[in-house]
């Protein structure tokens, strides 16, 4: 197999050639045996153990030897505008790399998956979509949104709010033009006191002041999860997280060149269908399962929910999103719960968090040129992988899976994990949530004492690498912490 020549070319992005030694050792993703499930093997990075955070001194993560990290942006930490950082950290991406003299600065956009709350200031975000309470005269406001983080020369610098007045901003995706698509995971037709609906995609800019807070209605209204942009066509691929009735969508913009605001100029929403077959469920997939895709148009991306009826009047599913209902009527496919999406080198990686033989997750690799998607990962047990959610691909082509299942117990104890998916289709444990902290420890570290608890069963999310591949940024949703991790990445596949 010779796929790695493509991987090598991507690594030029930071102006040099990192990880040459690792590349020589990597193998292209081997032909995976059909009808099988994924196996877990010992990590090439070695066993993990608790490592103290360089910021707080607390052992918040289990990592392999040689890896270190700095936590930042905890729930309650004061942002640049003096307001406390909102909680429920979720999807995240590096949207900008810029030089300031000899300094190198990365800007990350981070989701906050919050529903409603009492904060009518929307943590000071400049772009506010829905400033009205949920009900007339009420005091419950849309509490989700985004914050932008600055990381310069290996150190965290500041947090600034960018988007507010949105709900349940779960994941999203980076665009080739340096913005973030923030996805509301709302599966409801409810409207706020001002008549505004939720369940949209919003564009967030590296400069918070340029974030408009206006939804891209054409990208559909449903329980959005994540987005991935094909830079060759400008088409945005979208997942839906709605148990058993999740479509896989794409948005074909009228302006394919891409720029901040270009997606809002209009486009066509489409839903994936298996060529020659109607209403295929890909939920119970095994490794090697392959489907050729075509796409059906969704005439009304803002349609209300309702009962979906498949081709021929069969396959009826109740209470589905409006776009799903329209696509299902044309024979579109369904996943169980579409989650993370990441574009890498002509391929799109899509996580179905409850897919597979035991509902512990599958990963689909969609070849964007051929529109053929293949299952490359299917967990047979929580121990191998428990409900992967957000995913990312490192500059070396290694896939990182953020787990969001039950608190798995393995040879390193209890706790959710970051898993690496190797080129040979096997997975191994890269890191483990080790947050089990007391109020006294948090107070000493300058954090909110109210965050004290055993959080080891809380999900990793928002994993993303900087363009040079030196730093992995990732969140633990609760208590709400962001990490920058570095180490000898070339020892393994990440």
């Amino acid at each position: 197999m010779t796929i790695n020549t493509h991987r090598r070319s991507l690594i030029k992005g930071f102006g040099t050639l990192p990880f040459v030694g690792a590349l020589a050792a990597l193998h292209a993703r081997e032909a995976l045996a059909a009808g099988t499930t994924t196996t877990r093997v010992a990590s090439p990075y070695g066993p993990i153990a608790p490592v103290n955070d360089l910021t707080t001194g607390l052992p918040l993560l289990q990592l392999p030897a040689g890896f270190t990290y700095k936590s930042y942006g905890w729930t309650g930490d004061l942002m640049a505008n003096g307001k406390p950082t909102p909680g429920s950290h979720d999807g995240m991406g590096v949207v900008a790399t810029r030089k300031l003299g000899r300094s190198t600065e990365f800007v990350l956009v981070r989701n906050h998956e919050r529903g409603t709350g009492s904060d009518a200031t929307f943590f000071g975000a400049p772009g506010v979509y829905d400033s009205a309470p949920s009900t007339a005269g009420g005091s419950s406001y849309s509490a989700g949104g985004n914050t932008n983080l600055t990381f310069r020369d290996g150190n965290w610098v500041k947090t600034e709010p960018s988007l507010g007045g949105t709900r349940t901003n779960c994941a999203g995706g980076v665009t080739p033009w340096g913005t973030w698509l923030s996805c509301e995971e709302v599966g409801s037709d409810s409207v706020s006191a001002s008549g505004k609906k939720h369940g949209y995609v919003f564009e967030v800019t590296a400069d918070p002041l340029q974030t408009t807070g206006q939804p891209i209605v054409g990208m559909g209204r449903f329980a959005h999860e994540a987005a991935g942009v094909d830079p060759a066509t400008g088409i945005v691929y979208l997942t839906e997280d709605s148990s058993g009735k999740s479509g896989f969508y794409r948005y074909v913009p009228v302006n394919p060149t891409g720029a901040p605001g270009s997606l809002a100029q209009g486009g066509t929403l489409q839903m994936a269908k298996v060529v020659g077959q109607n209403n295929v469920s890909v939920i119970g997939a095994l490794v090697g399962d392959t489907h050729a895709l075509e796409w059906v148009n969704i005439a009304d991306p803002d349609a209300n929910r309702g009962t979906a009826t498949g081709v021929g009047g069969t396959n009826t599913i109740s209470n589905t999103a409006g776009p799903f209902r329209q696509g299902w009527a044309q024979g579109a496919l369904r996943m169980n719960r579409g989650e993370g999406v990441w574009y890498f080198e002509g391929k799109l990686y899509v996580m179905d968090t409850s897919g597979g033989p035991v509902s512990q997750g599958t990963i689909w690799e969609l070849d964007l040129a051929t529109q053929v998607m293949k299952c490359i990962y299917a967990s047979p047990s929580a121990n191998v992988g428990t409900m992967g959610d957000n995913i990312t691909v490192s500059p070396r082509g290694g896939i990182l899976i953020c787990e969001d299942g039950s608190a798995v117990v393995d040879e390193f104890g209890m706790g959710l994990r970051l898993m690496s998916l190797h080129d040979d289709g096997k997975v191994s444990i890269f890191a483990k949530n080790n947050i089990n902290v007391t109020a006294a420890q948090l107070t000493a570290a300058g954090k909110l004492a109210s965050l004290a608890d055993d959080h080891r069963d809380n999900e990793f999310c928002g994993g993303c690498f900087d363009p040079s591949g030196r730093y992995l940024f990732v969140n633990i949703q609760t208590p709400g912490v962001t990490f920058a991790i570095t180490g000898p990445w070339a020892k393994g596949s990440l």
């Binding site: 090598r8 070319s9 050639l17 040689g66 000899r102």
Partner: protein, 195 residues
Amino acid sequence: MKLHHIALAAIAAATFATQAQAAVFNGATTAGGNTFADYTSGSALSFDLDLASKAPITLNFTLESADFSGDAMTFNALVRNLSGLGFDSVRVSLSGITFAAPAGTITTDGFSGVSASTLTATEAMARFSPELTSEFYIGNPLANASAADWTLNLEGLKAGQQFSVTVAVPEPETYGLMAAGLGVMGLIARRRKAA
């Protein structure tokens, strides 16, 4: 694109601009895809080094008359480790010139620490713990309060003479040998001075 082509492209993309106010920069020699960018200004020799491998990189200079009339010549470098592998230590060695007092610093971005360091007239070494995988600073390229540039000693030198600065990443086992060697050299120097 094949690997060596990428390496050549990366090297070609490096900045070769020379600032006339400091020693004339004659370019660098390296391998393994390492690249550099020249930020020299005035009498401060300043470089960013992107190390895609552990291959050493040597910066070559020629002294000119203007170098002897102004401020002391200083040196700093921001070194990014893009190899994906840990750096156990760094060695900065001079040829054709020496360090002047006061000594400068070797610091990191905080993901690793400097656990030990040694210094002679022509060589500065620092050991990292844990092995460094992000970036470190020779002197003070980012104008941090806790760092200081290195000063180069021009005494006894003349315009037209050449010197070089080599930044190398020794393998872990060599650090002990080098440290021991530096210790012996220091001992010899002290004995000569005492004699």
